[in-house]
């Protein structure tokens, strides 16, 4: 009786999702496996033989990996500092980190267009200081894309890390120190291992986010293609929906592989959360 109420309450949402999301996704995936009425893997084989596509795929993965590593590197000290602060200052800093997160990706990518453009702030500054003699091209390069993505996803990593660091009691660090550990050793042996769950969540968010981001690469990456832009072009510019469907399926597969792999790694690294 009670259970049937539960299912009944979920029914509208369930129908909505199944009808508008699950079925379209399933049909998209299945359409890539059928050619002339027969099951066929040819579409994928062709894709993975295509040097151009492999390059895009590899490029996307590389950009996502660099973005994730940079986010980790920058976030760790910042998150550790914020997590140790007292309430008021902490609230303000978390707020300042969340603000960009809730601001449109277009706005944030656009700001980097102003900074990195040929007549942008960076070039003006470098020319003015005579560090360079001619404007350098940063905008529309992978570097610009990585800068934009790091800027886009940094708050996610900071917030994920603060989440775990807040739960690491000062007592643990003090216990380690009272047992003879230096501050650095206490961080390395106690704080860092305990951060791994947050690090994994943050890394999944950043890596998958970078992997599938559209706006930032489209605005800052120029002709440097990533997989999401490639999907869009196939679907909307080239009108090749079969190719777009294959790319879509590959993207879903990669996303779930990455999430699964990272969760596995987390369990290996941290046997007793």
């Amino acid at each position: 009786m009670k259970k049937s109420i539960a299912y009944l309450l979920m029914l509208p949402g369930l129908l909505f999702l199944v009808f508008f999301m699950v079925v379209p996704l399933l049909f998209t995936v299945s359409s890539t496996l059928v050619q002339q009425g027969h099951f066929s893997f040819d579409g994928y084989l062709a894709f993975f033989k295509d040097q151009y596509f492999i390059e895009i795929l590899f490029n996307t993965l590389k950009v996502s990996l660099i973005t994730t590593l940079m986010c980790i590197f920058i976030s760790f000290p910042a998150a550790y500092y914020i997590s140790k602060l007292r309430t008021r200052k902490k609230t303000i800093l978390i707020g300042l980190a969340v603000f960009p997160l809730l601001t449109s990706a277009i706005v944030r990518s656009f700001s980097w267009m102003i900074i990195l453009g040929k007549k942008g702030i960076l070039n003006t500054l470098l020319l003015h200081l005579h560090i360079i003699n001619e404007p350098i091209n940063i905008l529309y390069t992978p570097t610009a894309m990585i800068i934009g993505l790091v800027h886009l996803f940094l708050p996610l990593m900071i917030i994920s890390l603060i989440g775990v660091m807040e739960n690491i009691s000062d007592d643990l660090v003090q216990a380690a120190e009272s047992l003879g550990a230096s501050r650095f050793t206490a961080f390395r042996k106690i704080v860092f291992p305990l951060c791994i769950p947050g690090l994994v969540v943050g890394s999944i968010l950043v890596f998958v986010g970078s992997l599938t981001a559209y706006t930032t690469p489209a605005l800052l990456g120029g002709k440097q293609q990533v997989i999401s832009v490639f999907l869009y072009q196939n679907a909307m510019t080239l009108n090749d929906w079969y190719a777009a469907s294959i790319i879509a399926t590959i993207m879903i597969a990669i996303t779930f592989i990455v999430i699964g792999f990272m969760n596995l790694a987390a369990r290996k690294l941290n046997p007793k959360g």
């Binding site: 380690a176 009272s178 047992l179 550990a181 291992p193």
Partner: protein, 358 residues
């Protein structure tokens, strides 16, 4: 010379002064408890000794050396935390071995000492478990083992039993005392539970608002509290403020406006000019007024007449609140012949049960 001395130490958080010109001496091998209500500065004192916080003034001498600037990790003190602070990602073995690894102790030696220490706290066989798999009492013992295995020069306990249930608390405090005496480690123990402190300590310091009100052996404090605060804290709920005193050979006589109280001389009366008397509710004798209602009885020393205001059944005894000319008194009496609200009674204050407090 004392092993540990805090000389005129001051600590302040922001603008809150917790300790001001605080002094404390701990002798080698003894277990000294800091006892007091929350906010009295006992935990601050302990954390100061551990090095978790810095004094804004004063001196901390340990074993003849100034320790004020020695960093936490060079102090070689064992600290047992209220919430145990076990490292959740490390096994019990690794938790206990942590301090030894910092000291670069040889691998075989670590194994031997950790094993031995786990035996001491009766946790052999738990080496591979993780903190989350242990009960509160077991975690507590791991915390103690972790602090002891480094053979610390000083052992510090911050309310170590407050998260355990009542039965376990009693078992564990016996255990702590046993281990402490076996190893002869000088120990500072913080608690707000007086029974706990009195039962395990060589000496108890009772703190109030950052000041030590009394530092004595538990028995002495229990019998002869020196100040009103200490008296209240250990259950002397009744006070009589006097105006004058006279000294005689075997006793002292105190006068209020109309009443007269004799107090037998004892260890607590020698060095004080105090005018305040204190007595436990258990020690006041309560009797029915014999002269009937209204009239004043033939007056004797050390007695007061009054009227029962509230009578509460406590199980083993009754507790009465009695209104008298000197205020309300709390009196406990065994079950037989209970009084009821409104009864006229006589309170008798035995001269050997009255103590003097500042």
């Amino acid at each position: 010379m004392s092993l540990l001395s805090l000389n005129n130490v001051s600590v302040a958080y922001d603008k809150n002064v917790i300790l001001k010109d605080f002094n404390l001496n701990v002798e080698k091998g003894e277990l000294l408890s800091l006892l007091g209500p929350s906010g009295c500065g006992k935990t601050t004192t302990l954390r100061l000794i551990a090095g978790f916080l810095q004094a804004s003034g004063g001196q901390f001498i340990f074993d003849g050396k100034d320790y004020s600037q020695v960093p936490i990790n060079k102090r070689h003190f064992g600290f047992v935390f209220q919430n145990y602070a076990l490292f959740p990602h490390l096994s019990i073995f690794e938790n206990v071995a942590f301090g030894l690894r910092q000291r670069k102790v040889d691998r075989k030696e670590i194994e031997k000492r950790v094993k031995h220490m786990l035996e001491v706290v009766s946790l052999s066989g738990f080496e591979k478990r993780f903190p989350a798999e242990l009960s509160g009492g077991q975690r507590q013992r791991v915390a103690i083992a972790r602090a002891l295995v480094i053979k610390p020069d000083l052992l510090l306990f911050d309310e170590p039993l407050s998260n355990l249930d009542a039965n376990l608390r009693v078992t564990m405090r016996v255990e702590i005392r046993r281990i402490q005496q076996e190893l002869g480690i000088t120990t500072v123990y913080v608690s707000h539970d007086q029974e706990e402190c009195f039962s395990i300590s060589d000496k108890v310091a009772i703190l109030n608002k950052g000041v030590i009100e009394q530092l004595d052996q538990p028995k002495t404090i229990y019998k002869y509290p020196k100040t009103e605060f200490v008296a209240r804290f250990i259950g002397f709920n009744n006070f009589i403020q006097c105006r004058q005193r006279e000294e005689h050979e075997t006793h002292l006589t105190f006068f209020t406006e109309q009443e007269k109280f004799e107090v037998q001389k004892n260890a607590g009366t020698t060095s004080t000019r105090a005018l305040k008397l204190a007595i436990r509710p258990d020690n006041i004798v309560i009797e029915k007024c014999r002269t009937g209602s209204g009239g004043t009885p033939g007056h004797r020393d050390n007695t007061l007449t009054g009227q029962v205001k509230i009578s509460t059944f406590l199980g083993r005894s009754y507790q009465y609140e009695v209104d008298t000319s000197l205020g309300t008194f709390q009196v406990n009496r065994e079950m037989e012949m209970p009084f009821s609200t409104g009864d006229r009674v006589i309170l008798i204050f035995p001269k050997e049960k009255l103590v003097l407090v500042d």
